[in-house]
Symmetry: C2
Subunit: 157 residues, 2 copies
DNA sequence: TAGGCTATTATTAGTGG
DNA sequence: TCCACTAATAATAGCCT
């Protein structure tokens, strides 16, 4: 039985950490669910575990799928404006794209006020701060590489 | 004093609902914070209230700003591929955009495993189910309008 | 690995200032 | 509107099977 207060610090024991994670995740989801019911918010949660092909979904898969689709569809930087100034048709397309972008931002703002999303890390937590730092470095490097490529294209045109 | 269990249902009284919302929101944030600390997850939360210019940020503004920037930058559907088949340069740009898109998706997948985000509704909750339905309708309508515009452009080119 | 138990701690509903 | 109080309820850490 719990005879003392848990010290609020990183749990170094792997099994204990995993257990606590699962228990508390469940607790938070319940709380979110209750808040949604009590206050009339349409809420959903995603427990995305990329190391495992399985993706937990809660409470309703439909809403979550919509959200995930939105993110998948909305991943292109709109840099074309600066590149294609020579094409009239291109300008019209870019304008329409911008309108779409603004509209989607507006819609996103509205939906965000109606929903609460939680993206929680799955079961296989990175064990060390070093691992996390390593991943962050990799991300930075990848972004820079792509941005350099785009810059090169800009010079060519 | 609380002498009975709260019935888990929508609280129709506006003030009571608002109070409960604030209290429970605070509670959930604390739980999320604790989970982050205990399990070594880098977590952040945004309480975005579009009806009020203020946006609460918790626990660290820096991380949250990064996340919000990502969403702001990533809001254009990549439909150009189908429109600009006549331009060689355009094809190259589109290819680069696709690479960027895939890269950002990959990065997003990675970051999602490192972070927990909460987007919570602010203070001005829609009071009725009808209001919520109304907003959803508006969103659908807006999306369709923009998509029609893009379709028209496709026919022209 | 998962689920049950329970002492203990934490959250919070209702209330009043 | 917001804080403080506190009885009642809920969550959960450490064990156990």
């Amino acid at each position: 039985m719990s005879r003392k207060k848990l010290k609020l610090a990183f749990i170094s024991n792997d099994m204990a950490r995993k257990t606590t994670y699962k228990r508390r995740k469940k607790g938070i989801m319940k709380k979110v669910d209750e808040l949604a019911t009590l206050c009339g918010i349409s809420a959903c949660a995603v427990i995305s575990n990329p190391f495992d092909s399985e993706t937990e979904v809660w409470p309703n898969p439909e809403g979550v799928n919509k959200v995930m689709e939105r993110f998948k569809n909305a991943s292109v930087l709109n840099k074309s404006r600066n590149v294609n100034h020579e094409s009239f048709m291109m300008q019209r397309i870019v304008k329409a794209q911008n309108e779409l972008k603004m509209q989607r931002e507006e819609n996103y703002e509205k939906e965000i006020t109606l929903s609460m999303f939680q993206f929680m890390q799955g079961q296989n937590l990175p064990s060390t701060v070093e691992e996390i730092k390593e991943i962050h470095k990799m991300i930075e490097k990848n972004i820079k590489e792509i941005e350099n490529k785009l810059a090169a294209l800009h010079c060519e045109s």
